[in-house]
Each structure stands twice: as structure tokens, then as C-alpha cells.
């Protein structure tokens, strides 16, 4: 699949991996690719975001600020489950913050991964980016298609990042189209 990706899109994925690892993420999502794309030197996404008054630092902050899916203590209590007790037990066994997704100390036996695997949303985003490129009859998938894909997949964390930055789907569409118009033919 990556053969059809423009260099800047591949770079966005590579940079996204760096960002995800730096954030201590367990899996690699579209939101990390988004940061990678925003940081891309003169990428379509960077230009589109710039038109919308958003820079890479803001995107990264917004991704860092994404709340982890919280555990619903009230709903669990209604089932007779004391979340505090479960949390205490998990932390006793696995360390502080274990139930809230804080990574445990890596054991000496765990080999460092060469790359973080994509999560389902990340994979879906790249597939959707491909479909956008096909729809628009573009030869290569670039970060513009990735940005459009994120907007389409509105239930993903990456889409929430764009929302939190005050970017409406229509504006993103227009900005990407304008960025494409400004660049030499793909």
C-alpha cells in the first residue's frame, strides 16, 4: 500500500512514529500521523493547517491533551463493582496508574519494538486516504488525503483533535483543496 504514498505522506508516518514513542503511546494512531503531517516541511497538510491558522505545536498539544477513555465508576458501581478496589489491586500488581493506561516499567525480557503497530483507527485512516485519492483521481496519496480522511472518520481521536482546534470539516476541505491548487501538479 505504501507504494502509492507520496514521500511527504511516508515522512508523516515516520515522524508520527517518533511522536507516538515520545508520548509513550502503546499503539500508533491517526492522531500521531496528524502530528507527523503537521510537522512535515511544506507538506500539503502543514500548508492547509497554516491557512487555517494552526501550527504543528498546536496540533501536538491537542493530541497530548486527548483524554483517555475514562472508566465509568458510576455504571460499574451499579453492577456492584467497586472501581477503586479494582484500581488499587491493579496498581499493587502493575504499578501506579496501571488502570489508566500508564505504561508499566519495561521488563528486561521485552525486546524493544522496531515500530509501534497501527491501531484500527490508524489503519482505517490510511485506507480512507487511499479512497480519497482514488475519488479525486490523484496518482499519489499525500498528507492532504490523510487530512481529509481524518475529517471523514469523525469518531476517531484524530478527528476530535481537529475539532478541539476549532477546525470545521468544511474549512479543512477548503484549505486542503487550496493547498493542492497552490502546489505543482502531482
Amino acid at each position: 500500500m505504501f507504494e502509492r504514498f507520496a514521500h511527504e505522506a511516508r515522512e508523516a508516518v515516520v515522524q508520527g512514529q517518533v511522536v507516538a514513542r515520545a508520548m509513550g503511546a502503546e499503539r500508533f494512531g491517526a492522531e500521531h500521523v496528524l502530528v507527523g503531517a503537521a510537522r512535515g516541511h511544506d507538506s500539503i497538510a502543514a500548508r492547509a493547517l497554516s491557512r487555517l491558522g494552526v501550527d504543528a505545536d498546536q496540533v501536538e498539544s491537542a493530541v497530548r491533551g486527548l483524554p483517555a477513555e475514562h472508566l465509568d465508576a458510576g455504571a460499574l458501581a451499579a453492577l456492584g463493582i467497586d472501581l477503586d478496589a479494582v484500581r488499587a489491586q491493579a496498581e499493587a500488581r502493575f504499578g501506579p496508574g496501571a488502570l489508566d493506561g500508564v505504561r508499566p516499567q519495561a521488563s528486561s525480557r521485552r525486546r524493544p519494538r522496531s515500530h509501534l503497530p497501527f491501531d484500527a483507527g490508524g489503519r482505517k485512516t490510511l485506507e480512507t486516504a487511499l479512497r480519497e485519492a482514488v475519488r479525486l483521481r490523484h496518482n499519489r496519496i499525500d498528507t492532504g488525503h490523510v487530512l481529509l480522511a481524518i475529517v471523514r472518520l469523525d469518531d476517531l481521536p484524530a478527528a476530535r483533535v481537529l475539532e478541539s482546534l476549532g477546525l470545521a470539516p468544511g474549512d479543512v476541505d477548503d484549505a486542503v483543496t487550496a493547498a493542492w491548487a497552490d502546489s505543482p501538479a502531482a
Binding site: 472508566l71 451499579a78 500488581r93 488502570l99
Partner: protein, 68 residues
């Protein structure tokens, strides 16, 4: 009569039940991730983990990591 109907309607509303299911599933997922990681650290194979969870090896491998 309308009180009775209102109560009946509320009892039929699956929203609470579904909310509880969602919460339980999120908790189960968190615990699963912790225990699977621990098992792998201890040298369990994906097959061992899958057997303990009662799912396929592929399902566990897909969910908890490739390239590990």
C-alpha cells in the same frame, strides 16, 4: 395510569444497561492489556494467552501487538 406507563417505559430503556456493559467492557479491556503484557513478559506464547482467554491466537495477536 400515565405514571405506570412512564415507569414501564423507563424500565424498558436499555440506555443504563448498555452504559454498564460499555463500562464493564472498557474495564475488561484494560485488565486484559495488563495481564497479557505480564504473560508475554513471562514468556507465554500467543497461543498460551489465547487459550487462557478462550479466543483464537490470531485475535490476541491482532489486538495486543505485532512486532513484539
Amino acid at each position: 395510569m400515565s405514571d405506570l406507563l412512564a415507569t414501564a417505559a423507563a424500565a424498558e430503556d436499555p440506555a443504563e444497561g448498555l452504559r454498564a456493559v460499555r463500562a464493564l467492557r472498557a474495564l475488561a479491556d484494560r485488565l486484559e492489556a495488563l495481564h497479557v503484557a505480564r504473560a508475554r513478559d513471562l514468556g507465554w506464547s500467543w497461543q498460551d494467552v489465547a487459550a487462557a482467554l478462550g479466543v483464537s491466537r490470531q485475535a490476541v495477536h491482532q489486538k495486543h501487538g505485532r512486532g513484539r
